[in-house]
Symmetry: C2
Subunit: 353 residues, 2 copies
């Protein structure tokens, strides 16, 4: 397997020299793009997009046709694993993800089994292979999964939540039950990400969307511990090339040193932390990915350029920075603003390399 | 004016010796109490509760009749100031606060005026005076306001928001307009808190509920700067006694040193930061208030006792700690659990004093 023609992202994640700061955007294939909405209308639903390798490939490629991005990311959902465990993922219009059969009884929790990714999540592996073909080695492909804690939030609550009351009640009153869910889920995430790597994913990222709702002690016990387990068991190489891993805990700025200590190659940052301060705190242990406030994308191209420059200069000279937003791109982003951002990052960053 | 019979809170906020760690709870007069719901039903709505000094006094006193709390907090809403500015506060059932006339046009922003608290917010001052009478100097009364940034979020959006898109677009594209709103609002908050102090509030707290949605640079420019202005202009004494101030930015753990540097006497902490680490970071500059995960209150009394002990021992020996939750108490909290918490805090904390 030859390396991608543009391997800037891979080098940046491994803190190797690059000519400029590579850029990709969380949720870069999404509702802010008219062509995405057209494909989604043809597919019938978000979940049909995810479950069809043809559609998933089509929408994964869309932002790359418009913008000079340095990576593709698999089009999928973070909740494919619990769906494969039998919980029945569905999307209620305007309400976000839900499960038909959330974990309500102890026996359901004890019955949880690790799904075989090549069987129960085969549609994802097929999508990875098909996207790799479509990419034709232009840029690397990022695979991903939700974190065990984030998956458990949805599995126990049955959907999103303001306060995660069921989950938190279990955490404080029945921690051994929650640990069982997390343990099975961590095994599932590990197998899933390794299968994505074997299918062709050249980077993997773990999204810990809800870890930031925990106390400091709770984060260590119920999220970080499982992130460490997964990272330790990830395939480090595939076909002779190193496969970098990225861990992103939204709201995890206070625990940056711990996240950098999981063994991952890069830490994703949300927009609340100053990336210069983050770099001083983690030193040379990991690369950093982030961290523009997604709301900057509602502003003028001039302001986007200014704010991108602010982040590039806060990170400063040297390698190991991957530019991204601090969270997924909003559906209300004017598509032309992404071009302004990509141009700004690629041109301004050259002076720092 | 004699000091309260129980002035433990006042001493703790000024880092003076106390016999135990004082305790109060954000939103302690609220929907988890059946007697509150009965009063609210009689009043007809949440806003009628706030606007009637009789009802506000009645519900302020309710948690004190049940629990050995070390303070009362004025029953009111954080959005009284924009309501007094003419924006028309109302509560849509199950949807949280909304404004009939949010700030949509530049002329509306330029027309904003500082309300006279003794005229336009007289119902609040009447409530403060009436609550002080009802308290009969048993425990001190805390007055409060929303922070300028948090008020501006609601004033511009017209209600709560997932992404504060209008507000953030203004912040990045028209910062001078947002600064005008914040400047007028900061003057209004200062006058409002000083009027509460003159009416009898013995402590004041500023709730910066949405400051944590800003970037580090954005927080300094659009929230912290105005918190500093307010704290600098607060009355420090009333009737010969010092009036301590508390600043609480939810999600502000990364900026703790800056918040401690506003000149406030105490910093409120949400539950995501380890209070021992927070104490090491701020040293002896301020007292700390917090920071139990409100979700612990869904657990058993034994677990509540254990988690309260964990926080007390993380803070460690010495004075300057006010026990609280890291956010408002949930409406789903079993009322008896608050008794378990109060007993735990009062008994366990004696060893640390």
């Amino acid at each position: 397997m030859t390396k991608p023609k543009n391997d800037t992202l891979l080098r940046a994640l491994l803190r190797q020299p690059t000519e400029y700061t590579p850029l990709w955007l969380m949720r870069q294939a999404g509702r802010y793009l008219p062509e995405y909405n057209q494909t989604r209308a043809r597919a019938g639903s978000f979940l049909s997009l995810c479950k069809s390798p043809d559609f998933a490939t089509e929408v994964t490629m869309q932002p790359l046709a418009r913008y000079p991005l340095d990576a593709a990311i698999l089009f999928s959902d973070i909740l494919t694993i619990p769906d494969a465990m039998g919980l029945g993922l569905y999307f209620a219009e305007g309400e976000g993800p839900k499960f038909e059969r959330p974990l309500r009884d102890e026996w359901e929790i004890r019955d949880l089994a690790v799904p075989d990714p090549d069987v129960h999540l085969r549609y994802v592996m097929d999508a990875v292979r098909q996207i790799r073909k479509a990419l034709d080695n232009e840029v690397p492909l990022i695979g991903f999964s939700g974190s065990p804690f984030t998956l458990a939030c949805y599995m126990v609550e049955g959907g999103g939540s303001d306060d995660f009351r069921r989950l938190k009640t279990m955490l404080y009153d029945r921690p051994e039950l929650l640990h069982h869910i997390l343990d099975v889920t961590a095994q599932a995430v590990t197998a899933y990400l390794n299968a994505q790597i074997e299918s062709g994913a050249q980077v993997v990222m773990i999204f810990d969307t809800w870890g930031g709702t925990l106390s400091a002690a709770g984060y260590r016990e119920f999220s970080l511990r499982y992130l460490e387990q997964i990272v330790a068991r990830l395939r480090r190489e595939h076909e002779g090339r190193r496969v970098p891993s990225i861990v992103f805990t939204k709201g995890g700025g206070l625990w940056l040193e711990s996240i950098a200590g999981t063994g991952c190659d890069a830490v994703g940052l949300d927009w609340t932390i100053d990336i210069g301060e983050a770099r001083r705190r983690v030193g040379n242990r990991v690369a950093l990915q982030g961290n523009l406030d997604p709301a900057v994308m509602f502003a003028s191209p001039e302001k986007i350029t200014e704010e991108a420059g602010r982040i590039l200069s806060a990170y400063g000279s040297g390698h190991g920075h991957v530019f991204n937003l601090g969270h997924g791109i909003s559906q209300f982003t004017p598509p032309d603003n992404v071009l302004a951002l990509a141009d700004a990052v690629h041109s301004i960053s050259r002076q720092f390399h």
